[in-house]
Structure formats: C-alpha cells, structure tokens
Amino acid sequence: MSEYVLNALLFVDMAAFLAVLFMHLIKKDSHLIWLYALQSMATGLFLLGTGIAEEERSLIMVAALTIIIKAIAAPIFFFRLMDRFGSHGSSSSYLSTPVTLAALMALVMFAYSSVFQILGMLLPGTVGSFPLSLAAIFMAIFLMINRRGVFSQMIGILALENSIVLLTACIGIKQPIALEVGIISDIALWIVIANAFISMIYRQFGSLSTSDLKQLTEE
C-alpha cells in the first residue's frame, strides 16, 4: 500500500471509530442513522480512493456499490421507515453514560492490548489503523448489547460490518470481485429483511423498544 493509502486508511479508521463512539453518546434514532451514513460514506470513499490510487477497477466498483447501498440507499430506507410509522424515537441504554464510557474505554484498551498486536503487523504500515478498527468492532458489538431499541441493534450490526471492512483493509485482504459483490448483496438483503422485521415489530408491538418485546418471556 502506498503512503497516501495508508494515511487515508488511518483517517477513515478514526472517522469510523468516532462514529461508533458517538453512536453510544446520542439517543435519537435519526442521529444514529446519520452517523451510520457517515461511517459508510467514509468507508466507501476510502475504497474508492484506494481503487483509484492502485488502479483497480474491481475495487472502484465495490466502492461505488458500498456508497450507493450503505451510505445512500440504506439511510434513505431507514428514514422512510421512521416517517411511515411517525416514529422519531430514541432508545435508552441499559447502562448509564459514565458506566458506558468506562466500558468503552476498557474495550479500546483491550483492542490496543498486546494480544492483537500480531494481527496489526500482517500488513506493514497499518499498525496505527488496526487497533482503531478493532476497537470500532468491539464498540459496535457493545452498542447492540447496551441499547434498548431495535434500530440501535440494526445499526450496531451494520456499523460492525463497516468496521470489519476497514479492518480487512488493515490486514491487506483482497477478494475476487464476485465475492465482494456477494458480501455486499448479502448485506443489502439483510437491510431489506431487517427493515421488514422492524415494520412487523412496530405493527405488532406498537413500539421499537426491545423492552416491549416480552412475548417470549411471558409465555
């Protein structure tokens, strides 16, 4: 990887990391979607920049798909869903903000621990980016666990996927274009299915809070 690409990767990793961090701090679902769109756009632009710098058409195509599906189509889809149900709700956390921040700090320290150092060395020059991506992964998983809203759970999954894409760049994986398209198609289909379920949950439970999903526990 050229120095330009490595610098870009570090910048995008920081953006992705900050996006997930702010996801924990804000409560409104609409803000969550904006942060996800931002993270996806940063990921897509990084792939585009890398594709142009390394003159790889397949990577440019993957970048275009990423931007169209994850940074543009998915957020529009989510906002429409919110409008349809007149829901601009917010979701609370199980843990208070100070405890959440302490947990996030622990996760970041874990990502920077010596356990994972070996993975950061797989591709020379990405030692700074790798732990940021890994921390974003852990924080995205924690977002799903700590928040009560189904929107937060869905955005947590998608933010996790974005973070994995960036981590993949850090360890230098390049897949054949067919597989990249296969993975993106899977994600696109996942978004459609998750949205269908969110509609069903809202219709049947009248809420998008996981606290109201008690049918199974009450049986």
Partner: protein, 485 residues
C-alpha cells in the same frame, strides 16, 4: 458437474415456485418441492460412492465435494427429502384447519428451497468466503419462516434469531478474513486446500485469535452454550417441519464451518488449542441443556435444548479426537434423523392438541397411536439407549475421552443420565393419562405419517447395520479431520 447440478436443483425449484407457479396451485407447489428434494437425494446417492472411490468430485465454479462435504450432502438431502414430504402433509393440515391460507404455502416452499440451496452451497464450496455467504443466506432465508405465523411472539423470536445469528456470522467473517490474511503468498487464497497447505507458516497467536472468532461466530449458529439463546425461541415458534430441519441439519452445516477451520488451526498449531475449546464448549452445553430439559414445560423447547445437548456431544467428540471424531461424525447422521423424526411427530401432536405446553397434553398414546409410538421410540433413540446408533456414538465419544479427560467424561455421563430422566418424565406424562374432552383421536393425513414411518425404518436399519458406503465416507471424513495432509 454433478455437484453443480446438486446445488442448482433447489435454486431452480425456488425460481419455479416463486416466478412461474401460481400461488393457488398448492398441490403442484408441494409436489415440486418433493420432486426437487428426491432428485437431490438421488444425486447424493450417486455422488457419495464416487467420492468414496475417487476421493472428491472435480472442482467446478468453486464447487467440489471431499469426503466430509459429501457426507454432509447426504445428511442434508436425506433429511431435506423427508422434511419436504412432511411439510406438504403438515401445511395441508394447517390449511384445512384454517391456521394459514393457501397463499402462504408458496411462500413457505420458496423459502424452504432457498434454505436447501444455501445449505448445499455452504458444504459444497471450496472457498471459505463463499461458505460464509451461503451460511449467512441460511439465516436470511429462514428468518421469514420463523415469523411464518405473523404472531408477536413469532416476530420476536425471528428478530432475536436474525440479530444474534447475524452478529455471530459477522464475527465468523472476521475470523475467516484473518485466516485468509495469514498466508505469506501473493496470489491470494482461493480454496481450503491452499489454506491448509500454507497453515504451517501461520503465526500461532494470529491463528488462535482467528479460530476463536470462527468458533464464537459459527458456534452461535450451532447453538453452543452460551451462544444458544436464540434456539429454544426459534424452534418453538417456527413451523414444525422447518424447526425439524433447523434442528437436525443446519446445526451440522454450521459445525462443518468450524471443522473446516479446525483442520487449518490443527495443522498450524497442533490439536491442543482447538480441542480444548471444543471440550469446554461441549461440556457446558451438555450440562446446561440437561438441567433445563429436566424442568422444561414446552415440548418444542425441550427438543431445542436436546439439540443444544447433542451439539455439545458432537463438539466433545471432535474435541476428544481419535475415535471420538469418527463417532461425532456418525452422531451427526443419527442425530439428524432422530431429531427430525422427533420434531415431525411433535408436529403431529401439535396439529391435534394445538399447544406446545406439556401440562395440557395427556393421552397421546390413545389419540395418536402411531405418532406417539414413534415419539417414544425417538426419545429412546435420542436419549442414547441401546440398540440405537446414538447409544454407540455416545459410548465411543465417552470412551475416547476417558483417557485424556476422565473428569469431563464423568460429568457428561451424569448429565446424560439427567437428560434421560428429564425426557422420560415429560414423555410418559404426555403419552399416558386421560384424553382431553375436545380432542378427537386419529392422525391428520397420510403425508404426516409416511415420512415418520420411513425415517423410523431408516434409523433402525442404520443403527443395526450401517451401509458400507456410509461407513467408508465417515471413515474418510474422519481421516481428513484428523490427518488433513
């Protein structure tokens, strides 16, 4: 070419059902699914002996079957055939009772065929990322089947299934990508054999991290404790034939994903690390499932926890290694057949009693004589009593562990005894006692009876006399897991 055809059949059938057949032609849709699954099963019967003699089918479009994959194909197509047969009878009974409309039958079989396609692709592919895409596709194709009845509890179960499995699968994607980044070659990894061939050069710590992600990721799909929480809810809410297919076959496909990476891990850092994890997860799964089975109140959930227990037994077998690997593979077959039959007989009980709560079910022996006898037989088999095959596989697995893990073997033996008494308590309470006033004795229709009778016959045959071809393919698969090079 045969492998491509095998994988293409359910996809083509899904297209036929989804785009060409009108929703009202319920009967034709059902028979299309039965025809497709029987064709796939016949193809598997043709492919397996070939793999036994030649070693693998030729690669085409990232598809190739070695002994392990061919064995899985045999299980998927065999149980898939019975599931399609039973689904037709079960859905017919539900349409007659007004539980679902005829239009839902098309939706069911469309997703059923996509699910079969995804499972066959997952085991047939030579590329780790294609396998991941296919296993993710199993989640996407089954999510709507779990919420099939459009009830709040079913939607909640499906959402839980979707989120937890997607989380698990993203972690397994991470593990897969780390594995693919480890080889020091520039051309890129394109199949399992290349990954295995370069395993010796991997950094040990990186391999361990990657394998943990794989185990946690695909382990969620297998349902190993503590990653099992979606399973009881899902099996309780999904249509019974689909729950049977999930419990008997999908568990093996997900385990297959872990085993593929286990061979790479073992080749890189030896068997100690992966075996230790398998034994740990296996033991916890068996013990927890045993305790919950004992206090269970819902028979579909009881079968789900039984699935968790058997996932643990298989994990234990692979962890112990040696003869334990052979026994665990054979256990995959026996468990798939018996668990599917148990779910199908449980489906017949549900059709009659319209409840899954065991407290409300008595006198099944008088109401459904055939189903109840086979349900009881299935319980005997799944609990591991002689003369059924599961008795032999459990015995072999425990004896494999006696030398290296005597304490674990002792704990597991005790847990298995708890499972037996738990099952016995619940099953006898359901079978005997007075018939509820509003229940009319008699089975539903022929297609809810034929599959369970045929499955019972096959279970007895393979328990007493395992066909030479199956024995050979299991031996070859076990050898590929213990000595990959």
């Amino acid at each position: 070419m045969m492998t491509t055809f095998l994988v293409a059949v359910p996809l083509a059938t899904a297209c036929l059902i989804g785009f060409l057949l009108p929703a009202k032609s319920v009967r034709f849709i059902g028979w299309s699914a039965i025809f497709a699954s029987s064709l796939d099963f016949l193809l598997a019967l043709f492919i397996v002996p070939r793999v036994v003699s030649v070693g693998s089918t030729g690669p085409a479009f990232w598809l190739s079957l070695d002994a392990l994959a061919a064995f899985l194909v045999l299980i998927i197509t065999l149980v898939g055939f019975f599931a399609s047969l039973y689904s037709v009878g079960y859905l017919q009974a539900e349409v007659e009772k007004g539980i679902i409309g005829p239009n839902r039958v098309r939706q069911y079989f469309l997703l059923f065929e996509l699910f079969m396609f995804a499972m066959l692709l997952a085991v047939s592919t030579t590329h780790p990322v294609v396998m991941w895409i296919a296993i993710e596709a199993t989640t996407l194709s089954t999510a709507f089947l779990i919420s099939f009845y459009n009830k709040p509890s079913a939607t909640e179960a499906a959402w839980k299934y979707l989120i937890l499995n997607s989380l698990g699968l993203l972690l397994s994607l991470l593990g897969t990508l780390i594995f693919l980044a480890l080889p020091q070659i520039q051309t890129g990894i394109t199949d399992w054999s290349m990954l295995q061939a370069s395993a010796a050069s991997f950094h040990p710590l990186a391999v361990k991290i990657a394998f943990v992600f794989i185990l946690v990721g695909y382990g969620t799909k297998v349902g190993l404790v503590p990653l099992h929480t979606w399973k009881p809810d899902t099996y309780a809410k999904a249509p019974t034939p689909m729950a049977g297919l999930l419990a008997s076959v999908l568990i093996n496909v997900a385990l297959f994903g872990i085993l593929r990476f286990k061979t790479v891990t073992d080749a890189s850092i030896g068997t100690g690390f992966s075996s230790g994890l398998f034994v740990m997860f296996g033991t916890i799964s068996i013990v927890l499932a045993a305790l919950i089975i004992f206090i269970q109140k819902n028979y579909k959930r009881m079968l789900a926890y039984s699935g968790i227990e058997h996932a643990g037994i298989m994990a234990l077998g692979f962890g112990f290694g040696g003869i334990g690997t052979f026994a665990a593979l054979l256990h995959m077959l026996y468990h798939a057949l018996v668990k599917a039959m148990l779910f199908f007989t449980a489906g017949n009980i549900f059709l009659k009693y319209s409840t899954t709560k065991m407290k409300q079910i008595t006198g099944v022996l008088s109401v459904l004589p055939l189903s109840s006898v086979l349900f009881f037989g299935g319980f005997i088999a799944i609990a591991g009593l002689p003369p059924f095959g599961i008795f032999a596989t459990k015995l072999l697995i425990l004896s494999a562990g006696m030398m290296s893990y005597p304490w674990i073997s002792g704990i597991v033996l005790f847990a298995l005894a708890v499972v037996f008494f738990g099952f016995f308590r619940h099953v006898t309470a359901m079978l005997f006692g007075p018939i509820p006033q509003d229940i009319e004795p008699g089975e539903s229709n022929m297609l809810t009876k034929i599959p369970i009778v045929l499955m019972a016959a096959i279970i007895i045959i393979v328990s007493f006399d395992l066909p030479e071809t199956i024995s050979s393919i299991v031996t070859a698969a076990a050898a590929s897991l213990t000595q990959p090079f």
